[in-house]
Amino acid sequence: MGPKKGQTGGNKAKLGKQTTQQNAAPEETDQDERLQAIVLSDSYQTRFQPLTLETPRCLLPLCNTPLLEYTFEFLALAGVSEVIVVCCAHADQIQEYIANSRWSNPSSPFTIETVLSPESVSVGDAMRDLDAKGLITSDFLLVSGDIVCNVPFDKVLADHRQRRAKDKNAIMTMVLREASPFHRTRARAESAIFVLDEQTNQCVHYEEIKTRKHMKQISLDPEIFNKHTDLAIRNDFIDCHIDICSPDVPALFTENFDYNHIRKDFVHGILTSDLLGKTIFAHIVTDNYAARVRSLQTYDAVSKDVISRWTYPITPDSNLLADQTFQYQRGHIYKEDGIVLARSCRINSCTVVGAGTAVDDGTVITGSVIGRRCKIGKNVSIRSAYIWDDVTIEDDAIIESAIIANGAVIGASSHVAPGAIVSYNVKIDTNIVVDGNKRLTKYLGEEDKKVDTDAVGADGDGYVYEDASEAEEDDDYEEIVNSSGLVYNMASLNASDTSFSTVSADQAHRKSRRRRVSTASNNTVASEDSDEDSFLREAQASVERAVAENHDLDIAALELSTLRMAKNAQFHEVRAATIAALIGRISHLINSNTLKARAAVESVLNRWGPLFRRQVFDQADQIDFLLLIQRDCTRRMQGSSILLHAINCLYDQDILEEEAILTWWYQDPQRKEDADMVKVGELVPRWLEWLTTAEEESDS
């Protein structure tokens, strides 16, 4: 027996080499370096609420298979050998699911491990957590738990490793799928502009597009044009956040503790700061499929893509789960075994029907996904809807483009309008119309509410879900929520068509304008100027943000000094930016009648004055500083009193010394440069008077 076993083993090894050519490449690379993958199971978003109140997003079914399966399938295809799943919300459910799945079996192509990160509220937090735990040893694949992708990964990986071997600073490769700007699979709310070097595919700039604000321009560092001859400014990618990262990435997250979002903060941050000297590359995929389910709109689109086999071989009839028995029929119809279909019912194209479902006479189902064990009554009409498991739909109901979650009951003759979400176990009475913008749930959390009989009918069960956080959050958030719901809701999309077309027109403008810049700004003088400008703008914005969000003083100071070093700016500019921001804040407080001049100055400067300690060092600096304040005050209402109180306040804090103030006032010619400057200083002599008398008193 012994020798025989050895023999078959040998055969198997040969088989691996000979038959699975596609497999051979990852296996070989495995020998050099095992590829780790980090799966972020949480999306840190609330777009799928109320569904995600009860189930984590990555376990929501897409074409009757949990989203996480698609991600794992992709990782298996990519030749990953070690998977770490970071769990946050609903961690117990995810852990249980993974423990019971085939991925934990010995036959799994990779080892799988779950890591709890219960406190993280963003990708950044999760990365910092991972860094702290020290789990990452080599380059790894960072994905979220909701991607669908069939891109063969060996080429991407080989390219990345080649770049890494050449240059240790190439810390990240983003995998981007080309698609037209209005492609259904692109998330409308999260499109972004990538500026890439045409030859090397190095990403030199990243800018998020905010659809609502009708952003008309982006600013590029002119330095970019010196370094790269051919730039492509592109807005036609599906960015599904599949990144190959080096271990530097989590470390950088730890260093820059304000980075939260992997693109908006991290990529943008790394690319705008020269100091770090890290580079990020893009790998553009033109052949295969890559997408991420990040909103209801993309849920709809990706479902359609899976059904129409863009994701081949990851299609329903691959039966990813062991107990699935889907079979393909012409017209992209997938049926599982054990379905009861009445003779007169019609299952039209692009439909998936799960096992144990019964469809009664006269019912028409088009372009929809029906889960397992559903009961669908007579003469029901279901169009592009997503109906999960154990749903009961009674006679004559109409369901259009909605999501009906497990265990829900839709009463006879009810109508679920496009865009509605009926969450777990909600019961809708007969003859009820559920509007397209309604999200119904039975999950209450800690609240205590009565059944919304208006929404679900007298015999129904469920509540209208209102996103509590929506009101608190800022515009951006609302924009995302609106557009994700809105786009999914096809009816209202038509109404808002015009707004979308203006966006596209803007984009076109932007593109052409940027092109012109690229030809013009090879002039180095121009580029230096704007470098300074951009520093001033950014530094000012940074301080303003710190003040508005009440950051820690140290953080604000650190941010400023990082910026200063990145842009190679002088302290003069730092001071100018800080003053502009703080005086701006003061005058805002005064103008909005919140506080009187004195109180406003004191409130701001007592809190933020210490910032100047790291900007003002000797007497010359102080004089320069005074001049800057004076000049800034000329632009403000009540400038003279702001100046007076500011000087007083800073003197009290020992940031300004008496000698410097006197020198500035009596000796500096710039002080009296123009009429404005003189006018704004009109209140100062009185204070100087007080100063000298006070001094005399203390002297005597």
């Binding site: 025989k4 076993k5 078959t8 055969n11 198997k12 088989l15 000979q18 038959t19 699975t20 596609q22 497999n23 399938e73 298996a76 295809l77 085939r102 079996n105 010995p106 036959s107 192509p109 799928r177 080309e178 698609a179 037209s180 700007p181 209005f182 492609h183 259904r184 699979t185 692109r186 036609d236 033109t286 052949d287 295969n288 499929y289 893509d305 129409s308 086999r309 863009w310 081949y312 071989p313 691959s318 039966n319 990813l320 028995t325 079979q327 393909y328 029929q329 012409r330 017209g331 992209h332 194209s349 692009c350």
Partner: protein, 372 residues
């Protein structure tokens, strides 16, 4: 106890192996009928060498259950099922041989004459049977012990046959292709056809027209043509649309295939059916090169259920958002070519008319295994 533990761990190992195979086949990491056939036979070799049985029928049931599992992983990849049926036939044959010889000797007692006998009995009746067998001494075990090496040897032979199949088909090329003939081939992904042509080129001088079967095999077409050209064969790549105009000058159409059905019909690359029709109209002979492992005992009652539908992205570019949203694209990977369109099948057993395929099916498979 130790031995039992080792056995369990081995079984687990094997199970993991089977699961991995199923996953790979679903993921299309093992692709193409040859690769699938080879991998399946190697897996079966492992299974049989690890299997324990007191009665051959238990082994047959085990393999059948496994076969069903493997087959359902990718029901449209017929090669997997074919190999399983071949192995089943092999096991049955071996067991019958031993039974024949032993009953001839008259050396065994009644509960052991089982092969035919147990066909009529149900599974439940195995229980007492097996017990009595395990209780019974030497003679019962001798059958089992004798059988295993034979089966393993049989599977090894099958693997060897798979490996040498292209060679034996290629050697028939000289009889098929004559000097200065023009050959048209619409299946550039077929290794068998490639070897067939390359081998024949050593003796004959001929021209090959390679049809660029859009959309699934365009790249392979170019590789294929390159290999032929490197071997000194005059090669031209033509588009699918040109087939009709050029067919009049073609001497033979040589076809590779994905599977051959019991009625002699083929599942070949999409587009092959039309080219065969065209050849029929021009009275151009259509010759199919196929290994026996592609021969399936299935009849094409439901053609659609046999044809795999592939990646939509090959037909329509996914980038084109406006179209993707509005059209339904179907990209079948195979065509069903009816047996009337085919003139000759060259197998590793020699050339046969498609009408004769049912006979080969009967020779190689057992009818009771047709449905796994």
């Amino acid at each position: 106890m130790l031995a039992a533990g080792a056995h369990i761990s081995k079984e687990k190992d094997l199970n993991a192996h089977i699961e991995a195979f199923v996953a790979q086949i679903k993921r299309r990491q093992i692709q193409g009928s040859y690769n699938v056939a080879l991998a399946t036979s190697q897996l079966l070799l492992r299974v049989v060498s690890a299997a324990r049985w007191t009665h051959v029928d238990q082994l047959v049931t085990q393999i059948k259950v496994l076969g069903k599992r493997l087959q359902s992983a990718q029901p449209r990849e017929l090669a997997c099922g074919n190999i399983i049926r071949r192995v089943l036939a092999l096991i049955r044959e071996e067991s019958e041989d031993t039974n024949d010889s032993e009953s001839g000797d008259g050396a065994i007692n009644s509960p052991l004459i089982t092969s035919m006998f147990s066909l009529l009995s149900t599974n439940d009746e195995y229980g007492p049977n097996r017990q009595s067998q395990s209780l019974c001494d030497g003679t019962g075990r001798s059958i089992k012990k004798d059988l295993k090496p034979y089966i393993i040897e049989g599977i090894q032979e099958l693997i060897d046959e798979l490996r040498s199949i292209d060679e034996s088909i290629a050697s028939m090329g000289v009889e098929m292709i004559h000097e200065n003939e023009t050959i048209l081939t619409p299946t550039p992904n077929s290794r068998t056809v490639l070897k067939f042509l390359l081998r024949t080129a050593q003796k004959r001088k001929f021209t090959v027209l390679v049809v660029e079967v859009f959309p699934n095999d365009v790249e392979k077409t170019h590789e294929f043509a390159l290999k032929l050209a490197e071997a000194g064969i005059e090669t031209t790549v033509i588009t699918d649309a040109m087939v009709y105009s050029i067919m009049g000058r073609v001497g033979k159409v040589i076809l590779g295939t994905h599977a051959v059905l019991a009625n002699g019909g083929l599942l070949a690359s999409a587009g092959a059916a039309m080219i065969c029709q065209c050849a029929n109209v021009h009275r151009t002979p259509v010759v199919v090169c196929t290994g026996l492992y592609k021969l399936s005992p299935m009849y094409p009652f439901d053609i659609e259920s046999l044809i795999e539908v592939g990646d939509t992205g090959k037909v329509l570019e996914f980038e084109d958002g406006s179209l993707v949203d509005k059209v339904n694209v179907v990209n079948p990977l195979y065509d069903y070519v009816p047996p009337e369109s085919v003139d000759l099948c060259i197998t590793n057993m020699g050339g046969y008319s498609p009408n004769f395929m049912y006979r080969l099916v009967l020779d190689h498979y057992r009818q009771e295994d047709t449905t796994l």
